[in-house]
Amino acid sequence: MNIGYQFETLQKDEITHTQIVRYAGASGDFNPIHTVVPFAQKAGMDDVIAHGLMVMGFIGQAIGDWVPVKDLAKFGVRFKAITKPGEKINVTGSILDETEDRWICEAKASNEIGEVKVQAKFEVRKK
C-alpha cells in the first residue's frame, strides 16, 4: 500500500431486471421506479433504474477485494448518474493520501463508455 496505488478493477456482469428485483427484496427498497417498468415509463423513462445503493454495493464488493472489510472506517458516495438494466459496471480505485492511522482512498463505478455512475471516498484503518 502506498499513495498513488491503483487497485485492481472489478468488472461486474451486465445488470438485469432480475438482479434489481433481487436487490429490492434484499434491501427492502421497493420504490417502483426500480422494479415496475410501466411505472418508470409513466415517469417518462424508457426503463427502470437500478438502486443507487446497489451500485454502491458493487463498490463495496471491490473494497472487499482490495482491503479487509473489518478495517473499513468510512465509506461515502455521491450518486452521479442513473444506471439501467443492460449496463455493465466497472469499479476502479486508488489510494489518494494517508494519515497517521488511515489510508484515504477513492473509487468510481462507471459503465463501459466511461460514464461515472457513483463516486466514492473511503478510509481504511492501518494495522
Partner: protein, 138 residues
Amino acid sequence: MNDVASNLERLKSIKLESYTYTIEKAKIRELAIAIGDQRDSYINGEALPPTFAAVVEYWGGQSSASALLGLDVARVLHGEQEYEYLGEMNPGDEITVNAIIEDVYSKAAMTFIVMKKEFINQHNELVLISRATIIEKH
C-alpha cells in the same frame, strides 16, 4: 414566508421514530447474492457487506425517506450516502436506529435534506453512523 422557506421549516421540525432490527444471517446472504458479492463469509452470514446498513434502514424502518419527510417521490433523488463504521455488527445483534434531520437547505432550485442515523447495538454501543443526503427538485 414563501413556499420554499415554509417547507424548510416544516422539514427541520420533523421528528423521526426510532426502530429496532435484528440482524439475520439469511438477510446477509440475500444481500450478497443480490449484489453479486458472493464471498464465503457473506454467504455463510458470518460477516456483513459494507452496505448492509441499507437493509437495517429499509427493513427496520419500513418507510421510505420520501414518505417520512412528506416529499413527492417523483421529484426525489438520493444524492449522497455515507457510512462511518465505529464498531462491529454481527448476526444476532439487535440494532436500534435513532434518526434525526441533521441539516436542511435550499440551493439551485433544490432542497437538500441530510438525515443522520445512529446505529446502537444491544450493549448500547454506537456501531455505525449513516448519513443520507436526499434531494427534492422544486
